[in-house]
Symmetry: C2
Subunit: 356 residues, 2 copies
Amino acid sequence: MTYSFEQLHTFTLGMLTKIGCPADQAKTAADVLLSADLRGVDSHGVARLSGYVRLWEKGRINATPNIRVVHETPSTAVVDGDGGLGLVVAPFAMKVAIEKAKIAGTGWVSVKNSNHYGIAGYHAMQALAHDMIGISLTNASPLVAPTFSQERLLGTNPIAVAIPAKNQPPFVADLATTTAANGKLEILQRKGMDTPTGWVQDKEGNPTTSANGVKDGGALLPLGGDREHGSHKGYALGSIVDIFSAVLSGANYGPWVPPFVAFLEPDPNPVGEGIGHFFGAMRVDAFRPADEFKAHMDNWITRFRAAKPTPGNEKVLIPGDPERELEAIRMKEGIPLLDPVVKDLTELGERFGVMF
Amino acid sequence: MTYSFEQLHTFTLGMLTKIGCPADQAKTAADVLLSADLRGVDSHGVARLSGYVRLWEKGRINATPNIRVVHETPSTAVVDGDGGLGLVVAPFAMKVAIEKAKIAGTGWVSVKNSNHYGIAGYHAMQALAHDMIGISLTNASPLVAPTFSQERLLGTNPIAVAIPAKNQPPFVADLATTTAANGKLEILQRKGMDTPTGWVQDKEGNPTTSANGVKDGGALLPLGGDREHGSHKGYALGSIVDIFSAVLSGANYGPWVPPFVAFLEPDPNPVGEGIGHFFGAMRVDAFRPADEFKAHMDNWITRFRAAKPTPGNEKVLIPGDPERELEAIRMKEGIPLLDPVVKDLTELGERFGVMF
């Protein structure tokens, strides 16, 4: 089933208003959520809406948060999200980073007391219109085992970096620090297929190719997959994201990060408040004239795109290319939703009196 | 053969003085170079000394550079290395970042017109004594093929991040954005062994397990190895390092980065000056009280170290553990050098009248 952007945006807006979000915040949250659907990160879009609502029903999301800066220097700030939707807290914090950068050259904001913030790339991209480089990191519920660990201690902890160009579209990297995201496992589960090696370990900590590995108590593996293929690097990157997002701000880190699913309770002895994010904005002209920088970015992008491809592949892609192309298609042709998602959203709407 | 730290440091100092480096710069460069040998990154230590000298002989390294800030804002600067040794330019630039952070909360410095800067981790670690987080990135000679590219367009472009703790040793990640570094290929070549999958492609762009793959015109692969295992993520990370280091500063980027080896000529039509680096320093107390942050880092490190290990593995390591342990051993027991390195340094010393 395919739905138009407007239809899904209107429904999301309706639902968020229904649970008490102020109009401007509901609009922001719907924009962030829908951008995931448009860009093909289906696991982070409207498919998650009922999850957010269930967390609100449990009192774990505050629909009317007092989001505020609680500490700052010329180029830094800590934002307290007051338990709000990450979809609302993150745009607030990214705006603070951008305002800091206007004056100090760069702005860096660590966030505590927040919740899941949608796709990392959306927030990084907010810097582009200001001729700034945007950076967006977040920690997440522990599903990933560090190299040599049987236990899940990290989230899929993404890194997103958006860099403006001149005539070329921007460079937008948005990557989980794992070999593969959980969403890809769900697709393989539905098809009854195995995973490639290096994606998952079982609950004893042995490598497995079962798409149910994580569900059955195992873990996702850091980018690299195993030690021989550099998993200690993916583990280090995921750790850096965790520390910048949560140890700097005072949020929960590592295994203490509260689970996204409402049926799992957060740790009764938290080490911080909520989940954490980290944002950066760097004014390009704090380094060199923006026009000069962007002309060289065009040259960088053009050269990489022109690289001779390997046998059987059509061309070299620039980070952000596939998502941008999909966004244009889905804006025109609509957003496909899986049957279970349609059913879930229909029931949600019925329960709250919002037509899907 | 094993040599003491003092012996190798004295020799390096002597050689660098001989080619005209001012005493303080020669000392800094020797410190940086030797830290690689101590920490076990043998390919970036004294084994490279004759390579630097050959570049100087070709007029591609300036032994008496006028290193200076050419642009700045409260939290940023661009440093022109004036063609100096990266081993000298990088510590200068990192110091600028730290001074900026003292006032603005953070400092970010992009560097042009530099050369190879030794190990990335050394520079990041300079922030630790100031209760700051240190970040160090550099681009390097193109040896790496982006996902789907037959051509080498990126260097091994490392990311280093050093984070202070309280009673625990610091967290120090220092990772090339490739599956494996070139040094590991050389070890396998000497042993006549194949590489694991996902390390190398041949000159046609097909996967290979030949340890001579890169030598024979192939390429190293980005972290992840292939698309199915996330190589597009390693490619994106290496690209970010390249852009922050060189497009921001005005250095050469991508395939234009000058080769380290003196027998290969730089591109006759450069897009910038020399190679580029990027440094960051973030004052921990620009976010929360330093003591509080460091106590939570201790808790983070202790929890990860205590994780139940996977079958057959002894324990979970914290980034920086292996290098720190090796440093203590080598400081006491000496630094082992391979025969070809000893021969190379002996000849170098004889040629310049410096006793090895």
